[in-house]
Every structure is written in C-alpha cells, then in structure tokens.
C-alpha cells in the first residue's frame, strides 16, 4: 500500500545484497565485475530452464503436489547447478582469491534471482492501496535465498575448484550441495503437498538457510586447513 510500503519492501528485498557487498572485503577488492558476470550467467540459465519447463512440463489445473512433475522440475533445477559451475570455473576472473570468488558469484547469482522473481510483483502489487503481508514475506525469502546462494557457491567452489580435499569430507560436501540445490523442490512440496502457509514456509527457508550456511562455513574452513 502506497509508495512508502513499496520502498520498505524494496529495501528488505535488495538491501542485504548491497550491504553484503559493501560490508565484506568484496568492495575493497572491486569484485563487482564478477558479480555482474554471475548475474548474466543466471539470466542465461533462467532462459534455458524456462524453455525446458515449457517443453517438458504439463500445465496442471489443480494446485496439489504431483510427484512426477516435481521430479521433472527438480531435474531441470539442476541446470542451475550447471550454470553455477560455468560461472565459477569457466568465466575468466581477475586475480581474486577463491574465498572472495565464491562470495562474489553467489551474490551476483542471488541478486539476479531477486530482481527477476521479485521486482515485478513488488512494483505491481506493493504500490496499491490494499495491505498484505505477502511482500514482506517475499523480502524475507529473498534474504534466505541470498544465504542459500552463497552457501551453494561455497560448496560449488569446494567441489570444483579445490583440488586437495580431505577424503572423509567429500561425501558430506556433495550431500549438502544436493540438499541446497533441491531447496526449491522441497519448498514447493511443503507448500503444495503438506499445505503449509506462506509465513511457515518462509520461516523454514530462513532456518534451513542459516543451518546450511553454518555447515558450509565449517566445511570450507575444514578444507582450508590443510592448504593453510
């Protein structure tokens, strides 16, 4: 309701990205280019996913959980992972340490995701007279998404960029990466299959994103010890 509310929701949705960039050493090392390139890769990935979804998915009338459709969506979701791989490994980055590279890529990835999925509904909906909590919840979801993207990028960099990893941790890394990559399917199952309300789903997303961030931080520091 009104432009004030739109402004509030916008700073909730996009503020953390800007704050993350300026607060961490990313700004000192001027990694903006990396973030922008990652955002562009996300755009390309989204386009490919759209084409695949349109080709392979049936339009369902009802809103309940169809396991085959969801499986298909999850498989197509792995294109995300491929895109992230491309962004982390194939793009030529300047001499940035691995530590900052995954953060920059994750940030650019999450920012592009927020803009693409949340800016249009915000612009159209939040400026009207009617007040709903939806847009604030969407902003919180964007925050959870930021944390998840960065942890996925961290796990991705561990998987593909670090050569010497302790043997015991490798399956854990792959398992965590798998969980984070299938987060969209899990949330859609919660919303449709179990019928959770939107606030509950957002709470779950925030909680899991913090947990996964903590786990990937531990894994990252654990893998860093041998080389350090």
């Amino acid at each position: 309701m009104t432009v004030f509310h739109f402004f509030n929701c916008a700073i909730l949705t996009f503020g953390p990205h800007a704050v993350y960039y300026s607060a961490t050493p990313l700004s000192e090392y001027d990694t903006l280019g990396t973030s922008v390139k990652a955002a562009l890769v996300y755009l390309g990935t989204a386009l490919v996913k759209l084409v695949c979804l349109a080709t392979f998915l049936k339009v369902s009338e009802t809103d309940n959980f169809d396991p085959y459709q969801e499986l298909l969506k999850a498989l197509i979701g792995f294109i995300d992972v491929a895109g992230l791989y491309f962004a982390l490994t194939q793009l030529t980055h300047r001499n940035i340490s691995q530590n900052h590279k995954f953060q920059a890529v994750g940030l650019g990835w999450a920012f592009a995701d927020s803009v693409l999925h949340r800016l249009a509904p915000l612009w159209v909906g939040a400026r009207g007279l009617e007040f709903t909590w939806d847009y604030l919840l969407q902003g919180l979801e964007a925050n959870a998404n930021l944390v998840l993207s960065i942890s996925l990028a961290a796990l991705g960099s561990l998987m593909w960029l670090r050569k010497n990893k302790p043997k015991t941790l490798i399956p854990i890394i792959y398992a965590c990466a798998g969980i984070v990559a299938t987060m969209p399917s899990i949330t859609s199952y919660l919303r449709r299959g179990l019928g959770w309300q939107f606030p509950k789903v957002v709470g779950f997303e925030l909680f899991t994103s913090l947990v996964m961030a903590f786990i990937s931080w531990q894994l990252f520091s654990a893998c860093q010890r041998p080389s350090a």
Binding site: M1, F4, N8, I11, T24, P25, G128, L129, T132
Partner: protein, 561 residues
C-alpha cells in the same frame, strides 16, 4: 543506409509500443487490487421545484466505521456501515435531522432482498422483522437532504467479515483514520449529473368491439389503466412487485382473456376496450394526464368508465374502490354493484371510498382523479384503504416478489375480468361465470407468475428508463399480441421533478495499514540492515575495521599532525 535507418526506426517504434503496453498493464493492474468489490446502489437524488432531496454526492473515499463508535467521535471522514437488521432508526433520524457531518452511509440489506432470489418461504419471517425498520428508513431518507453519499448493498460473507473487523476495531475505542489503519471504502465515480429531459412512455392498446351493420354511432369504450413505473429509495432496486407490478400483470391478463373473447366475432362485445399502461405514476400521475390530453373530444366522451388498477397483489379479505364522484351517482352505483356481486361470489368484500378532488391542489393521489378532472367517470381498484402521500407506496425497497400473494392476486384478476365482462355482455346480477376455473377462459396462473417474476427483476424508475428500453418494448409486444392496435406515446416528465444519474456503482474495500506501521517498519528494517552490516564487517574484516569506519576523520588529523 536508408534500409538501416528504416530498420532502426522500426525497432524504436516496437520498443516504444512495448513500453506503452507495459505502462498500460501496470496502470490496469493497479486499479483492480482491492480485497473485496461489491455492487452498491445509490440513494436517489432528486429535486422538487428546485428543493434538493436525497443523497447529493456519489464518489466515496473514506475509512469504514460501524455503529459502535465512541460518542462524540468525529465521523466527518468516516463511512458508517449499518446493517439494517441491527438498525436503530433513532440514530439515523438524529444524524439526519441534526445535520451532523458524516463521510457517508452504507446500509447492508439482508441477502433475502436480492432481486435474483425469487421466493423463499422460510426467510419470509426474517423479512417481517426488518419490514418496519425498512419502511421508516426509506421514508426518512427519501424526504431528507443528505450532503454525503448514501449507498445500499447486500450482505455477503466478505462484507460481513469486513464489518466484524471494523466493529472490533471500533470497540477498542480508536476511530479509523490514516494513522490507525483499518478499512477504506472507495467508490471512484464521477459527479452525478442531471438527467436531461426524462422521458415517460405511455403504451395503449385498443380492442375493437362489434359494430352492428347500420350502426352509425361510435361504440362506447371501457378503459382499464395501470401505471407501470416505480419510485424508491434505491432506484436500481425499485422493482415494485405490488406497487404497481400487480396492476400491470392484472391488466395484461385481462387483456389476454378479452382478446380470446374478442377474436371470435360471435363473442365480441359491443364495447371497445382501451388498455393503458401509463408512466409517471409516482409524480402525480403525470403520464396519465398527458395521455388523456392527447385524446380527442369524441374519444373522451365515448369512454363509459375507466378502471384504474393500483396495488392489487397483497391483500387479505377486502379490496377498495376509490371514486371522486359522489357514491349516489348512478354510474358509480352501477359499477360498484357490479363489482360487489362478483366479489360476493368469489368470497370477499369490496368497499367504496369517496375522496373529493381539489382542482387547485396539484397533488393527484389516485389515477382516476386524472380522469375525473376531465369529466370521465373513473374508479381505482386497490388494496390500499387510504390515499398514499406523495412518493409513498410507489414500490420501494421492501416491495419485492415475496410481497405479492398469488392467491389473492388471482382473485383480483377474476374480479376485474368478471365484472367487466358482465357489464359488456349485459349479465349484471346474473350468476354466470364467464371466466370459470378449469375452463379455457380461466385465469392462467403460470402466465401471471412469469410476468410477476419478470417485473420483480426489473427496476422501473421512469427517468432512468430510456425510450427504447427492452422492458417497454416487451410490454408493447405483449399488448400487441392481445389487442388490435398499439400506440406508444413519448412525453417529457413535468419540470417539477429533476433527477440525477449514477444509481449503481462498484465499491472497493481496501484493508490499509496505518502510517505509523510504515514508519515502524522502516525503523525495523533500517536497524536490521545496520546490524547485518556490522555483523558482516566484524566477521570478515574484524572489529577494528568497524570501529575504524567511525574514527576515520580523527585518524587523518593525527597523521597530518
């Protein structure tokens, strides 16, 4: 070179058109984002000789309030939502008479009154409760001048939920304003404009009687007249099933029966029958007046008598015949006797009421008075025992389909048809039933029912019906089916009454949050971002970096020193 420029121009054009489309989409989506959209019907707005009555405004943009507000609260920017079921008429009377400033009124009618709900036995009891309240309310609103918008709406689940919420908010003692949130009612509609030259349409049908060879004189005529238009507090809801839908349907049924008789020359009577469906009834029978003036002298003199029908659909055991000529008059006696005889046979009473006409008084209470002023014998058959006041008993909010009782209505139709037939064929006093039940000339209940249903779903306030309204065309066609010759007369309603348009609108109900909520949210988000910023700086660069952010200017001074 030219090709490239043309292509560029094409690209630019397509880009501009895409941008325009996007802007249009954005604008469109903005308009329809209300939680609830409800159809509402405005209180009538009219002037009598320049004196304004009714609700003078149409557009609405205020907060919603209920009747549970704290006394002394300022309601000039609040729309009071009043469910008619819980209405205390004294509140409305007080507000109207003391001219308290108010943002608007929204009356919620029970769902039973919806036009589409044709019948429902169990809900009739519910109607009785609201009946008296509605009658008083309508009378009060129609004769008052209200400088704020007044609307009627039907209750449904969404509006009930909104009302409950508003009541809860009001109970806490905080009136809804911009800073405390609540619900906002918006009706985006233009200022109401005068209806220029409101037309009234009279429809007449003529059944020719049997002229014997060598009969040079004109046959005598009997006229049956009913006015078909209505007037009520909410013109979009004024269907007037009894006043005067019953009169119209009775006229049509009598026309059907007599057309059956007159189609065969052996049973054609020696009277012409003139059927008249007039408009302008609530406004001192203006249409009847203009219709009669359009007759030529010979026709007027050939009218033996005229029977006007006014509300014959919901009576118990007595009908009234109202006359303006003294009851001792021979013609009146003859008519009254004819009716009484038939009524006795049918098992009810008919009474006679005499009301003298005052030529200097412009008020015409009954339709027969317009005939009497031109010295034509006439009488009105009605269930009302007393003459209604101006704009009273003209088909208001209460007068819907349930109001008409079919059994008594069929008896009225039988009364009129039988009495007329006995007069035409000369069977006065004889016990012969021309339109007996179970004969081919019996009164047809399904015909009556279908026409009553149609009338109960058609609001018929004359200034808002155009010349070519489908309803008028339907009446014309029906009369043409039963009579030989149908003539339509279009006139302009007398200058004394002026009407304003905008009778129907869409109400948008928005749930709004208060300004304090927005400011609070801004504070919370600001602090969240600051906390996030500090947290990230501390974890990635260390606490010293955070402190150094605030201590930069002094350190520079230290350096230069």
């Amino acid at each position: 070179m030219a090709h490239r420029k043309a292509r560029e121009r094409d690209m630019l054009d397509s880009v501009y058109s895409m941008l325009a489309l996007v802007f249009i989409l954005v604008a469109c989506v903005e308009l329809c984002d209300a939680a609830t959209v409800v159809d509402v019907y405005r209180l009538i707005q009219y002037d009598i000789s320049g004196v304004p009555f009714g609700s003078r405004l149409a557009s609405l943009n205020h907060h919603a309030g209920s009747l549970h507000f704290s006394p002394g609260a300022d309601l000039s920017r609040t729309v009071v939502m009043i469910p008619v079921r819980e209405l205390n008429i004294s509140f409305v009377t007080e507000y109207v008479s003391r001219k308290h400033p108010l943002g608007g009124m929204l009356f919620l009618l029970p769902e039973i009154f919806r036009l589409e709900n044709g019948g429902g036995g169990k809900d009739v009891r519910e109607k009785e409760v609201v009946k008296n309240v509605l009658l008083e309310l309508e009378k009060l609103l129609v004769h008052a001048k209200l400088p704020y918008p007044v609307y009627f709406a039907f209750e449904n689940d969404e509006i009930d939920a909104v009302l409950d919420d508003v009541k809860k908010n009001d109970a806490t003692g905080q009136p809804a304003t911009a800073t405390t949130g609540g619900y906002k009612l918006v009706i985006p509609i233009a200022e109401p404009k005068k209806v220029a030259s409101p037309t009234i349409t009279n429809i007449q049908g003529w059944l020719q009687g049997l002229k014997a060879d060598g009969d040079a004189n004109q046959l005598p005529t009997i006229a049956i007249v009913a006015s078909y238009d209505t007037f009520g507090a909410a013109p979009a809801l004024s269907v007037g099933s009894d006043s005067n839908g019953s009169g119209v349907v009775a006229l049509l049924e009598v026309a059907r029966l007599f057309s059956l008789l007159y189609s065969n020359p052996k049973t054609r009577g020696r009277y012409n029958i003139l059927f008249g469906l007039t408009s302008g009834g609530p406004y001192n029978y203006n249409g009847t007046h203009k219709w009669l003036r359009s007759f030529d002298q010979r026709l007027r003199e050939s009218i033996d008598y005229a029977i006007c029908l006014n509300s014959v659909g919901s009576w118990n055991n007595e009908l009234w015949i109202h006359v303006s000529k003294p009851p001792e008059n021979a013609y009146i006696k003859q008519i009254f006797e004819g009716f009484t005889n038939v009524a006795e046979e049918l098992g009810f009473k008919v009474g006679l009421k005499h009301k003298k006409i005052n030529i200097s008084n412009p008020r015409v209470a009954w339709e027969h008075e317009q005939f009497s002023r031109l010295r034509v014998t006439a009488a009105t058959l009605s269930e009302l025992s007393a003459a209604p006041e101006l704009l009273e008993s003209t088909g208001g909010l209460l007068d819907s389909r349930h109001f008409v009782d079919e059994t008594s209505f069929i008896r009225s139709v039988q009364l009129v048809a039988e009495s007329l037939a006995r007069h035409i064929y000369g069977y006065q006093g004889k016990n012969i039933q021309i339109f007996a039940d179970n004969s081919s000339l019996a009164v047809n209940p399904s015909y009556i029912r279908s026409w009553l249903d149609l009338l109960s779903q058609t609001p018929r306030v004359a200034p808002f019906i155009s010349k070519n309204d489908p309803f008028i065309m339907a009446l014309k066609k029906e009369l043409a089916d039963h009579t030989d010759e149908v003539i339509m007369q279009h006139e302009v309603l007398d200058g004394m009454f002026t009407f304003y348009d905008s009778t129907k609108a869409s109400l948008n109900i928005y749930q709004v949050a208060s300004v304090t909520f927005d400011l609070l949210l801004l504070l919370v988000l600001g602090s969240y971002l600051i906390v996030l910023f500090s947290f990230l700086v501390i974890t990635t660069r260390g606490l010293d970096d955070l402190i150094s952010l605030f201590r930069r200017p002094p350190s520079r001074k230290v350096k230069t020193a």
